[in-house]
């Protein structure tokens, strides 16, 4: 059996979360039961004239009905077009793609750091940890954005019962400032017992990567890159490795240990 499938799926629901964010439910995806946190699907967006597929992290999945969910922000031609789709429209997807996160050790406190549209894989990772026996309250979830508008679906993450810390750059919601501020405090407080997981904008990841390396904190982050193929055959999504050479974000990643990739 193929590990990765190319399938036509239907949009079963599209929710406008306002301020440019949308949530999309699609089904049936034959590999829904196999999805691991951090993995993504490569989506063919119908009728917008963009040639490549677009990559979106899997936000949630339902093994029972074979559905998956993505959360996206409108940033360009492709996402603008995706936002105009309606229930019943067909999408082509390739997936599940990419690797996944390493599970924390029992004694470690997992700290999940989500910035903007880096939220979906962090959410799914939290869900996964809880399913695998981690108590919600033992998970620290940092969720930051530029303004209130970037913090979407908060109610959903609250339901997991994680220790939630929200930040906005302009202070319009949660703590004011960079997400790395509370992170620094957490690292200092629980020295040696945390494992970090991060996904978000490049600047945030650079800061977290530096923090993690400087403080010798283990963990991983999920990267982005423009992806022509998503399956590892075009060599277009490469990023330089610290040890030299390039890594394909779509297949060798998107999840990397801190310090592994030159940001």
């Amino acid at each position: 059996m193929s590990r990765i499938v190319v399938e036509d799926v239907s949009i079963t629901k599209i929710s406008d979360l306002k301020r440019g964010y949308f949530r999309l439910n699609i089904a049936p995806f034959s590999k829904a039961a196999k999805v691991k946190p951090g993995q993504f699907v490569h989506v063919q967006i119908p009728g917008c004239g963009v040639y490549f597929r677009r990559a979106f992290s899997i936000y949630n999945f339902n093994a029972a009905d074979g559905s998956i969910e993505i959360l996206f922000k409108v940033v360009g031609r492709g996402t603008a077009c995706l936002a105009k789709c309606r229930r019943g429209d067909r999408l082509g997807i390739v997936g599940p793609l990419g690797n996944t996160f390493r599970f924390p050790l029992k004694k470690e406190t997992p700290v999940l750091i989500a910035g903007g549209v880096g939220f979906p894989p962090m959410y799914l990772l939290a869900v996964h940890m809880i399913e695998k026996g981690f108590e919600g309250e033992r998970i620290v979830f940092l969720y930051g954005g530029n303004t209130k508008d970037d913090l979407v679906d908060i109610s959903r993450i609250r339901k997991l019962g994680v220790e939630l810390i929200l930040t906005t750059m302009d202070g319009s919601y949660g703590q004011k400032g960079l997400i790395t501020e509370p992170l620094k405090r957490i690292i200092d407080d629980r020295c040696g017992k945390v494992r970090l997981y991060a996904c978000g904008p490049e600047g945030m990841l650079q800061a977290v990567d530096t923090l993690a390396c400087d403080n010798d904190v283990p963990g991983q982050m999920s990267l982005e890159a423009p992806m022509p193929c998503g399956v590892g055959i075009c060599l277009g999504c490469v990023r330089p490795l610290r040890e030299g050479g390039y890594t394909r974000v779509c297949r060798d990643g998107p999840v990397y240990n801190f310090g592994e990739v030159l940001l």
Binding site: S2, Y51, F52, G92, V94, P228, I233, G236, C237
Partner: protein, 305 residues
């Protein structure tokens, strides 16, 4: 009625005329996660060079209208690791393995093909004369004299059939094809990418660190078809058509223009199971139109005179 998709190029039997193009299917490992490579007529592996190459720094690709630009920079594991680690993986599949070879000088082609001559799984070699991404390589692609010599030298060392892969960035591709034929090429494949460029109007930077790159995808299909048509009238050796192929209809256009087989490149990025879909649709077309062999299409174009 059973439909025969097989074609024969230079004595090598392909179960269907559908190959995957060099640089767009790696060494087969990743595609094998999507479908069995045994469903392919053949696989053309990523250009290998004498030494491993990391390729150009990113960004190496850019999206364009109905196509893309790439300047990967011939990133590859080098001939040694290729023979040791990559070729064995392909052994388990029932498909023709075409090893694509690139070099800066004729001597490098000879060196690599000498090594490949000892590999039973290297069914054929395809000589990439035309990669627009390495300055040194351009000479052979645009010079009939050099192309002929390169083919002749490789023929001396490699026992199996040799395909010369041609660049479209020339005034007269038929002239280069004829030179390759004279040099002893068993087939020609065309086209490689067209030199192209894209610019970021916010940063004033080219979209590729290599400044220019190779244009591929549906955008270039008409150019590829015209060149296959032209070369078909100029040489007797078989032609492998390449350029923007995404559907069975595209394949049929190439076959009608004279291609005996085709390679699928960029379409694999957008629709990785394209070869499987094309094989299915090709059968449908043939049966609907009452052909029993795909060979009946080759060169059957009815030109206006």
């Amino acid at each position: 009625m059973s439909i025969d998709l097989s074609v024969n190029i230079a004595g090598v039997e392909f179960k269907n005329p559908i190959l995957t193009a060099s640089g767009t299917c790696g060494y087969g490992e990743e595609l094998a996660d999507l479908f069995s490579l045994s469903r392919l007529g053949g696989i053309v592996t990523k250009s290998i060079t004498v030494k491993p190459r990391l390729g150009h720094p990113p960004p190496r690709t850019a999206e364009t209208e109905s196509g893309m630009l790439n300047a990967i920079g011939l990133a590859n594991v080098g001939v040694d690791e290729f023979i040791e680690k990559k070729l064995p993986f392909l052994e388990k599949f029932d498909t023709v393995v075409v090893v694509n070879v690139a070099g800066a000088k004729i001597q490098e082609y000879v060196e690599i093909c000498t090594r490949l001559a000892d590999c039973p799984r290297a069914d054929m070699v395809e000589l990439n004369f035309s990669c627009p991404n390495v300055e040194e390589g351009m000479g052979i692609a645009t010079s009939a004299v050099l192309a002929e010599r390169a083919v002749a030298e490789v023929k001396k060392v490699f026992g199996g059939p040799v395909i010369a892969k041609l660049s479209p960035n020339v005034t007269d591709i038929a002239e280069i094809a004829q030179a390759c034929e004279s040099g002893g090429a068993d087939a020609v494949s065309l086209i490689n990418t067209l030199v192209g460029m894209a610019v970021d109007i916010e940063t004033f930077r080219p979209r590729l660190t290599n400044n220019t790159g190779g244009l591929s995808g549906p955008a270039i299909k008409p150019v590829a078809l015209a060149m296959v048509h032209k070369v078909y009238q100029a040489v007797k050796i078989p032609i492998v058509g390449i350029g923007g192929i995404a559907t069975a209809d595209d394949v049929i256009e190439f076959l009608l223009c004279g291609a005996a087989a085709i390679e699928i490149g960029t379409a694999l990025f957008v629709e990785p199971d394209t070869p499987v879909k094309i094989a299915r649709d090709l059968k449908k077309y043939l049966s609907k139109n009452k052909f029993d062999s795909v060979k009946q299409l080759i060169g059957q174009l009815r030109i206006y005179s």
